[in-house]
Each structure stands twice: as structure tokens, then as C-alpha cells.
């Protein structure tokens, strides 16, 4: 364009050939530039997304291997939001902030090169405004960090207050505190409003207006230089034209960079949280040693095991027992007596710190994770189902298990009957947490899941959920079948179901207070006897009124 104005338009020289060449090259240049810029933007996005994906996979992978202890103390919601929302904010950083910055800087450098090619002296003058812009950014960043922090803080206070009030509205109303809460909410709302106003003030003082002022300053400088020169002699108008145009363009990227600065701040905060999770060192217990022992018999021994979750109060005290291959050992006791802790240790969810647990004579910590998970089948009280179908919930992601084996496992636990009744049978989709199935059916599915593994050792945390009598019977029969030929550790809530156990351990406050077979314990007339008679009475009482679940009035 400069060539056009200076060489052709100003002297009024119009040769058609070079002009056409000029026009064509102008359009071509633009096409090339547009295409290149399009692809570079996409490439940037791709890279940014890949980076974030990597980060997500890292965090998620890390979380998989954290100790259960960590999940006990970290609320699930905050964990989820770190893996997804916080990484999303980081995505913003890579996708928008970094690419905007890179693009803007390249753009600005390009424009500077153009200016220097046009006229070194004037370009050098213009270059002088760069520190001004950088200073402006620094000032803005400094203030905006503070202002935005308070705004965010106020907003989260506001939302927290609102959320809390909505949750406790019946209390507020019952205690006639509506007016006071309105006032309190009004105060926070006002504070939030003032913070927002502060942000607006800051933005109107330091963003576009300020950049525009610098732009005008630069324009004035350029005009002054050219003006002074033109008084002394002749200047190239095209150069001036190009300069003014460059200035115009130069300030576009600056504006977009300024806008991104606040996002940058936010992404850093999120990244800090994500890295905090990545640096978490409360890992799940790891295997020790390099050999790969196998579980063949299923002989379980506890030697003087004590355990504490918090390091202060022992939930297990000097627990010793032996479960011989094929035997059933039942754990009974009141809530909090330590039954579940024994299971947690045996499953190696928590490390054994005091005492020793061995399987087939080999210390628990020397087994591979895979071996343990394959040979010890755990049935949990809450049969957690995954989104998917029936088959995938029985097989889980174990490709070694064929469809036939899935079917056999289901038949074995008598889940086959109800699965056959489903419209799509084994391919019946299962929604979130298996809400479409009854709790009994869910329990049977979780049995099938365990049996599909053909474990050597069975750990049962027996279901207490009220299920209809028909399913209840199926569950009991299934359990009986499953225990046959396997070493079984069973937590029993219904004592009637473990009458035939080889050994019953009665736990109280982390200690084994009674042990023996059902008959021996009944004869002893101790705690077990009391619990047993209690439950006998209860089942009588329960039979009287089964229909309990009327809608609970809130």
C-alpha cells in the first residue's frame, strides 16, 4: 500500500501491469496470511487441549492410587471439582491466555519490524512507548490481583450465605430471623456490589481508556516527527500512512492482552490447587519386595493386630485369629466395634502398622495388588453399580472374563432369574448408581461381580438393606453357595445367617471378647447370646409391620 501511494498514486503514474501485480500480490498475501493464522490458532488450541488432557490424566491417575484415608477426609465434591473445574480453568490459561499473549507479542514484533524497515528513527521513537505499556500492564496486574481477589471472595461469601440460608430456611422461619438474615444478606450483597464497583472503576481507569491514551500519545509523536520533517523538506506520505496504520494495529493486541490478565490470575489459583493434589503423598499401601507370591490355599492369619485411623484411638486392639482354608469366620458386634476395620486391613486398604497379617503364611504386604484383588473377593454392604450395562457391571473391565463366565456367575448367585426378565437381559443399561434396580437386585449383581473372579477368599460385608422376602431368600442361598470351598470372612448383621460358621468372633470396642461356634457361644450366655435373643425378638416384631416406607414428611 505504501508502494502504491508513494510510487504510483502520488506521482500519478499508472502502469497497468505493475499495478495488477501489486493488487494480486496484496490479495494473495492476505489469503496466505489468513490461512496460516487460522491453522496456527487451531494448532495452538490443540496443543493447549493436549496439555490439559495430560494434566487431567495425571491428576486422575494420581487420585486412583491415593489411600482410602485420603478419601475419608476429603469431601468428594471438592475432589471432583479439582479434577474437572480447576483443570478447565487451566485450559483457559493455555488456550486463551498463552495463545493470546504469544500471538499478540508476535504481532507486535512483526509490526515493529515493519516500522523499522520503513523508517528506523521514527520506529525507534515508537519503541520508546513499549516500556510505558509494560508499566501499564504491571500496574494493572498489581491492582487487579487485589481487586479481583476481593470480588471473588465476596462472591463466594454471597453464594455461601445464600446456599446456607436456603438450606436452613425452615430454622430461620421457625425462629423468626427472616428480617435479620435479610439484613445480613443485604450487607454482603452490598459489599459484593462495592467490590464489583471497584473492579469497574479499575477497569475504566486502567484498561481501554488508558491504552487509548497511550495510542494517542504515540500518534502525536509520529505526527510531530513527520510534521517537523515536512517543514524542512519533502517526506513520503505513504510512510506516514503506513505508520499511522501500524499504530492502529499495534494497540489491538495490547487491549486483548490486558483483558486476559485477570484470567491469568484465576488460572494460577486453580493450578495451585491441582498441583496441591498432585503433590499429595498419602498413597495407598504399596507392595514390598520383588517376588510374586500366589494365594493358593486361602489360609488367613491375624497375629496381634492393632490399628488406629487417626493415630490416637485404637479401633483394633491385639486381634489374633486363624481362618483355615474353606472355613467361614464370622465377625459380629455392635456398630463401631471394629468389624469393618478388620476387613479394611485384610483388603490392604490401610497399611498394617502393628502386628502381622499373613495369607498362606506370606505377609500381606508382599503380595502384588493384582493377586490380592483377584483372589480376595469383597462384597460390600452398599452394592455400588457403575453406569453401563449388566454385563459390564459383572465383568468390570476384566477382558479375561468371557460372556459365558459372566452368565455362569450370574446363575451361580441366582441373579440370572431377574436378569432374564429385563428387556435387554445382560445388555440392559444401568443408570447412575443402578437406580432402576431394586436394592436386592443390586446386591445380587454385586455378588455375581465377585464370583466372576472366582476368588479363593471371600470377604462379605453383609447387606442390612431391607429387601423383599423373595430376594432376601435368594441372597441368603447365594451367600451359602458362595462360601462353599472358600475361606470366608463375613461381617454379619443378622446373626441367623451365620449360625453354621466355623468360628464366630464377637468384637467389642476393638477387642475380641468372645469366640467359638454358635452353639458354644449360646451356651456361654454372654454378649452373643444377648444379641441373638435381641434379634430373634426383632425379627418377630418386624414381621408384624413390614410396610415401613411411607413418604417421610420433612
Amino acid at each position: 500500500m505504501k508502494i502504491f501511494i508513494d510510487d504510483y498514486l502520488a506521482p500519478r503514474r499508472f502502469d497497468p501491469l505493475p499495478l495488477t501485480a501489486l493488487a494480486v500480490s496484496f490479495v494473495l498475501l492476505y489469503v496466505v496470511s489468513v490461512v496460516l493464522r487460522y491453522y496456527s490458532t487451531i494448532l495452538f488450541q490443540k496443543v493447549a487441549l493436549k496439555i490439559v488432557q495430560q494434566m487431567r490424566i495425571d491428576v486422575f491417575g494420581k487420585v486412583q492410587h491415593l489411600a482410602l484415608r485420603f478419601f475419608d477426609r476429603t469431601p468428594g465434591g471438592s475432589l471432583v471439582s479439582r479434577i474437572t473445574n480447576d483443570t478447565e480453568a487451566i485450559k483457559d490459561l493455555f488456550v486463551n491466555v498463552l495463545s493470546t499473549f504469544l500471538q499478540s507479542i508476535v504481532f507486535m514484533v512483526g509490526i515493529f519490524i515493519g516500522m523499522f524497515v520503513l523508517d528506523v528513527k521514527i520506529a525507534a521513537f515508537c519503541f520508546l512507548i513499549t516500556p510505558l505499556i509494560i508499566a501499564q500492564m504491571a500496574v494493572y496486574r498489581h491492582f487487579s490481583a487485589k481487586v479481583y481477589r476481593t470480588t471473588r471472595q465476596k462472591l463466594s461469601q454471597l453464594n455461601a450465605k445464600l446456599n446456607e440460608c436456603l438450606q436452613g430456611m425452615n430454622i430461620i422461619q421457625a425462629m423468626r430471623q427472616e428480617k435479620r438474615l435479610r439484613r445480613e444478606f443485604g450487607t454482603i450483597n452490598q459489599e459484593h456490589y462495592l467490590a464489583e464497583r471497584g473492579a469497574i472503576r479499575l477497569n475504566s481507569l486502567l484498561l481501554r481508556q488508558a491504552v487509548y491514551s497511550v495510542y494517542l500519545l504515540a500518534l502525536i509523536i509520529v505526527l510531530a516527527i513527520f510534521g517537523v520533517r515536512s517543514i524542512g523538506g519533502v517526506i513520503e506520505i505513504g510512510t506516514l500512512y503506513a505508520f499511522v496504520n501500524y499504530l492502529d494495529r499495534f494497540f489491538e493486541p495490547i487491549n486483548s492482552m490486558m483483558v486476559q490478565l485477570t484470567r491469568f490470575q484465576q488460572a494460577i489459583v486453580s493450578a495451585e490447587r491441582v498441583f496441591g493434589l498432585l503433590d499429595e503423598d498419602d498413597m495407598a499401601p504399596q507392595k514390598i519386595g520383588h517376588d510374586h507370591p500366589e494365594i493358593r490355599e486361602g489360609l488367613i492369619e491375624f497375629h496381634d493386630v492393632s490399628f488406629s485411623y487417626d493415630g490416637k484411638t485404637d479401633v483394633l486392639k491385639h486381634i489374633s485369629f486363624v481362618a483355615r482354608p474353606g472355613e467361614t469366620v464370622a465377625l459380629v458386634g455392635h456398630t463401631g466395634s471394629g468389624k469393618s476395620s478388620i476387613v479394611n486391613l485384610l483388603m490392604r486398604f490401610y497399611p498394617v502398622e502393628r502386628g502381622r497379617i499373613t495369607i498362606d503364611g506370606v505377609p500381606l504386604e508382599r503380595f502384588d495388588d493384582k493377586e490380592l484383588r483377584k483372589k480376595i473377593g469383597l462384597v460390600l454392604q452398599d452394592p455400588f453399580l457403575f453406569v453401563g450395562d449388566i454385563k459390564s457391571n459383572i465383568r468390570l473391565n476384566n477382558e479375561e472374563i468371557s460372556d459365558e463366565e459372566v452368565r455362569r456367575a450370574a446363575e451361580f448367585v441366582q441373579a440370572d432369574a431377574f436378569i432374564q426378565k429385563l428387556p435387554k437381559q445382560y445388555d440392559e443399561p444401568i443408570g447412575e448408581r443402578g437406580a432402576t434396580l431394586s436394592s436386592g437386585e443390586r446386591q445380587l449383581l454385586s455378588f455375581a461381580r465377585t464370583m466372576a473372579l472366582q476368588p479363593k477368599i471371600l470377604v462379605l460385608d453383609e447387606a442390612t438393606a431391607s429387601v423383599d422376602t423373595e430376594t432376601e431368600e435368594a441372597i441368603q442361598q447365594a451367600l451359602k453357595k458362595m462360601r462353599k470351598g472358600r475361606t470366608t470372612i463375613a461381617i454379619a448383621h443378622r446373626l441367623s445367617t451365620i449360625r453354621d460358621a466355623d468360628q464366630i468372633l464377637v468384637l467389642h470396642k476393638g477387642e475380641i471378647v468372645e469366640r467359638g461356634t454358635h452353639e458354644e457361644l449360646i451356651a456361654k450366655k454372654g454378649l452373643y447370646h444377648k444379641m441373638y435373643t435381641l434379634q430373634q425378638g426383632e425379627s418377630d416384631a418386624l414381621r408384624e409391620g413390614e410396610e415401613e416406607s411411607a413418604p417421610a414428611g420433612r
Binding site: M1, V32, S33, R37, V47, Q54, V106, G114, Y246
Partner: protein, 49 residues
Amino acid sequence: MTTAFKEEKITSQRVFRRLLGYAVPHKKGLAYAFIMLILGTGATCSDRF
């Protein structure tokens, strides 16, 4: 500047460096994008001539 603010600045720098560390395996892609960007921008800028 308060010490708290300084400290925050230091952590944010550390976090930022670590974030950039994630970009290292993609340096090739980034370089391509960068070259394209420079060429594209160069093409746009040279329209003034």
C-alpha cells in the same frame, strides 16, 4: 509490598513455571504453530509495503 503479597508472587511464579513444564512435550507442535503465526503475521504486516 507486604511479605504475604511477595510470597504469593513467588508461589505464582513457581506454579507458572510448572505449568510451562507441561508444555515441554509439545514443543514441536508449539514451534510449528509459532512459525505459522510469524509467517501469517509477517504476511499481514507486509501489506503496508
